[in-house]
Symmetry: none
Subunit: 240 residues, 2 copies
DNA sequence: CGCTATAACTGGTATGTACCATTAATGTAG
DNA sequence: CTACATTAATGGTACATACCAGTTATAGCG
């Protein structure tokens, strides 16, 4: 089980072993782990080394310790997909509503000044402009405008856009997606938003703006999503 | 500096001491910390104990280690930097502006229905109501209303509220803070917000609502922050 | 002067030991 | 049988020591 000659640290081997058993279901949530002293004797390693492995797994929330009682498998190791931010689709499903999309525009246009600077490309460079309406139970909830550098992301079609843009970029173009920054701001609906979202003048809008980068830091995508303030809120879960 | 007779563990005393020096500015971001062996000799404690303290601070992102080089103060570790969300204070500093607070109200009031349900307490239970204005360069940017269960968090004073509520809860009350959920929504300013933020009628407001829980899931705090939409945006960094 | 081998640092891994505080099981006296 | 004390288990803290693996300054050689 443990290879003392391996260049991989013993505590790390033990971590992987325990994680494996949790994932395979050998250790079930709520179960108690063998005690630190048992592990140490069983594997013929020091108790302090066992503690090092367990401490790391406790920090990663796989396990938790109770003094005098033992070490236990944590109930559910939360899967945070992208930070704690819930996506529109997930969120709507969680509320028992049927989410859907409607593509209203897909074309190549020259980049205006502000978009060009956000995408770090020259003004008037070609960019894809993709407009979508996001609906819940067929009621418009948001207008989403995505802008993608056409010189960087080539061969985009409306089909790709409707399935998964990110998957296309990583699998077909072999580019790695990196970090994203997201901005939240409150505004008043402009004409375009009024029209597509079917809301009155002066309605408040929750505007989410995201800039996504490749792994090397090159920005490739700007997304501007205008949410009806009366129908939608963003939720974010924060861990300590 | 270190009291070996104290019931407080030595590694914890050292943690607090280092954190204190970071907060006071004695240790600046990017600086290297004294080496583990130096600390051990200086304080007449074991190097392993020093490592225990430093390891914890590394996990909390106060410090980072580079093998062969040393241990360094992390560039930006802010008070309650939960996930990738930038706080008002840090954000204003990053923009080269001077952030400040003004406490405008601190009292115990009976909980209204919606707050009572969010805090999971009976209606009319006593809660602290704390109103603060957040300013940048002495211009009001946000009205922040914090509501705390008075039966859960006892002995709160305006001084504590002005320094660090979270530290008081964890260090003095010995309660552990857990997760938080944060909601972003866009609204139109109400009378109170108009008055405190000195903005015209129908101004858009970015409203952030946070519910913070203890480790056992009990909610203890509701924060409602109303930001001037023309002056403030929330930024969130997302890692893949 | 410039290069290189070395020495003197740094943190990383691993061992063994000791004793403490909390918890649960066990034994014993009433 | 219950109530209480004892004991054995757990994880928590702290110590001393050893050696490994990177990094950097330096002494010394060509």
């Amino acid at each position: 089980m443990i290879d003392k000659q391996s260049p991989i640290p013993i505590y790390h081997q033990l971590e992987e072993q325990i994680k494996g058993k949790i994932e395979k279901g050998e250790y079930m949530p709520g179960d108690s782990l063998p005690s630190e002293r048992e592990y140490a004797e069983e594997l013929n390693i020091s108790r302090m080394t066992v503690r090092q492995a367990i401490t790391n797994l406790v920090n990663e929330r796989y396990l938790h310790r109770i003094k005098g009682k033992g070490t236990f498998i944590t109930e559910k190791k939360f899967e945070q997909n992208l930070s704690g931010l819930t996506s529109f689709t997930e969120d709507m499903k969680a509320r028992g509503m049927k989410p859907s999309n409607k593509l209203v525009n897909f074309e190549i246009v020259p980049a205006k000044k502000s978009l060009a600077s956000q995408l770090n490309i020259p003004e008037h460079s070609p960019i894809y402009e993709i407009k979508r309406i996001r609906l819940a139970e067929d009621i418009p909830m948001a207008l989403e405008r995505t802008y993608v550098s056409a010189n960087l992301i080539k061969g985009l079609t409306d089909d790709i856009v409707q399935s998964s843009l990110y998957q296309y970029i990583e699998d077909d173009l072999q580019l790695k997606i990196g970090k994203a920054s997201q901005l939240f701001e409150a505004t008043i609906a402009n004409d375009e938003e009024m029209e597509y979202l079917n809301i009155p003048e002066h309605s408040p809008i929750l505007l989410m703006r995201r800039i996504t980068q490749l792994e090397d830091g090159t920005p490739f995508e700007v997304v501007k999503s205008a949410y009806r303030a009366d129908r939608y809120q963003f939720m974010l879960d924060l861990e300590r």
